[in-house]
């Protein structure tokens, strides 16, 4: 597609490098039904299904299913802007839940909607805007992706990323965990969509989520209440107090640069934060390896 004035030579050869030996990741193997989450190793990452280029009129798009989360991201850009000259592209992310989906933390944060139907996204003026939670996710994703895009290459243009959440987890998760898990996968999905849109990036941003348990150990990719079966009694009271949840996004080929961090939950100290960051980094690398082989596969 001729979206830029300077085009590379038409007969370029793409070097066949970086094919990982473990190419049989979870990529592009459509799963039937929902993957079983009762895996024996608790540090395994949940299988996910990824597909790109599903939306024709967007410059790039990606679709991701993990657990019961279904996320779809479309990238529009570079699009020309009107008005005064800017030397770098501007970048925006907008994240929306489909109207029938209950948003995690809805009752706490989306208090502006109290006069309306609680799940409708209309405010008092009847306009459709984003809810507080949608804004929060949008701004995390924007912060995480912003350093990766080479905006200098696109003067006078804009990139708009639209995230649609088609389905979310069942209510067994506490709302914070649900929100952060969702955010984590949105970042991964959006980075693939950016690649699909042929946007020049410094590196593909991937992210990971971890949760600490009471003894201070880190559980990578927590999935609801799997890890504390033994004390279901006090789980309700303790879950918000004790466990630390962290999402962190990285540019793995760029010195593991941390581009986004969001830590919530109980007490923290330096050691725990280091563990959280390292845990997220491990998970992001695994996801990155999967995405790499997916992208290489899709070229062939």
């Amino acid at each position: 597609m001729d979206r830029r004035r300077l085009l590379g030579p038409l007969n370029t050869v793409i070097p066949n490098i970086g094919i990982s030996s473990e190419i049989n990741g979870s990529k592009s193997t459509p799963q039937t039904g929902i993957s079983s989450s009762s895996s024996s190793n608790k540090n395994d990452i949940e299988n996910f299904f990824l597909k790109t280029g599903i939306i024709e009129n967007a410059n790039g798009s990606a679709y991701l299913e993990v657990g019961n989360n279904v996320i779809e991201v479309s990238v529009f850009g570079p699009r020309p802007i009107r008005g005064s000259f800017i030397d770098r592209a501007s970048f925006s992310v907008e994240c929306k839940f489909l109207p029938y989906i209950s948003q995690p933390g809805d009752e706490l944060f989306n208090t502006n909607n109290q006069f309306n139907n609680s799940n409708s996204n209309t405010n008092a003026n009847g306009r459709t805007g984003l809810t507080t939670i949608e804004h929060k996710i949008s701004s995390y994703v924007e912060t995480a992706l912003l350093p990766s895009i080479i905006l200098e290459k696109y003067p006078k243009s804009t990139f708009d990323v639209f995230v649609t959440i088609v389905a979310t987890e069942t209510p067994t998760y506490n709302s914070n965990e649900k929100l952060m898990r969702l955010t984590n996968w949105i970042v991964n999905c959006a980075s693939v969509a950016l690649v699909d849109a042929n946007v020049e990036v410094k590196d593909i941003v991937t992210s990971g989520i971890v949760k600490s348990n009471k003894s201070g150990d880190i559980i990578i990719d927590p999935r609801g209440q799997i890890e504390d079966e033994q004390n279901e009694q006090d789980e309700q009271d303790d879950q918000n107090e004790e466990n630390v949840l962290g999402v962190a996004s990285f540019m793995n080929l760029n010195n593991d640069q941390l581009v986004g961090i969001w830590v919530e939950g109980g007490d923290i100290d330096q050691d725990l934060v280091t563990k959280v960051i390292n845990g997220c980094n491990d998970m992001s690398k695994k996801i990155r390896a999967n995405i790499n082989s997916f992208l290489i596969d899709s070229l062939q």
């Binding site: 800017i86 770098r88 501007s90 970048f91 925006s92 009752e107 706490l108 944060f109 208090t111 502006n112 405010n123 306009r127 805007g129 984003l130 809810t131 507080t132 939670i133 804004h135 929060k136 949008s138 701004s139 995390y140 924007e142 912060t143 912003l146 350093p147 905006l151 200098e152 918000n240 630390v244 990285f250 540019m251 760029n254 593991d256 640069q257 941390l258 581009v259 986004g260 961090i261 969001w262 830590v263 919530e264 939950g265 109980g266 007490d267 923290i268 100290d269 330096q270 934060v273 280091t274 960051i277 980094n281």
Partner: protein
Amino acid sequence: MILSPAERAYLYESLVQKPAIRPGARSDHQFRPLEAKTGFLPNSNGSARIRLNDGSECIISVKSKVVVTRGESSLIEVDIDVPGFRDDSNFVSNLKFSLTNLLITKFPVEYLRLTSKYSFKLFIDCIVISHSSYPLSLISLTSYLALKTTRLPLLTSEVNDEEIEEQPTFSDDWDNAKYIHPTFQPPIFITLGVIGENLLFDPSIEEEQVLENGLILSFYKDKVITPIINMNLATNSNNSNFKGLNQKLIIQSINLCNKYCPAIIKALDTLIEQDDENDDTDNHIF
């Protein structure tokens, strides 16, 4: 764009020095001087105002209402109003999310319990009259003062009303009203700018233009707590220096906050004490 390319380059170069050379000769852990006043809104349970020397100003009012505890999803509700921004804009929504999230998760709600059935619900209304730099720490420091000086009417009826159908009654003497808790110190947010290897407390608007990243940490009971997040502090995303963080800086920022933030809390507490002493003579804000 408030700085020319040359100004940006100059400021960037000064700030990446070790130690950083900040405009206004601040050291890297020094806040901008502020002026505060508490308890000036007669119709509120607590109120506070903070003004900074760059003209930023924030007023917060805390009001309370007796509610049936069971019927409420949370006992704290925050509303933020920033002139020039729509209430459903990303900017205002994020401020609101951050403050609500901090207070809901960290505020000890047992202080608001009245009886076994009833509680106080606090409504925290913030108006940012003007701001130049990212206003979250300004709002949060003001909310500290407002919550700390919030006085709730004294309960005169029975605390245990499990058996009896009784609504709580209060002493009608306002002098009997008591603070939320004598030793209560509300949680606050600290904004830190990341540039090179340096971490700058409370970056000003000019500094925000050249920062490489921004960190927001929360501080409560003499230590750094969650949430910890990073974000682009400059409101326009055309921040050409913006890039990823070195992981070590997160740990460093926690250490720095643990070291310097108790002084901020202490300064705010002193401020309230001084304000109390002046209260009889001067009870207006202008």
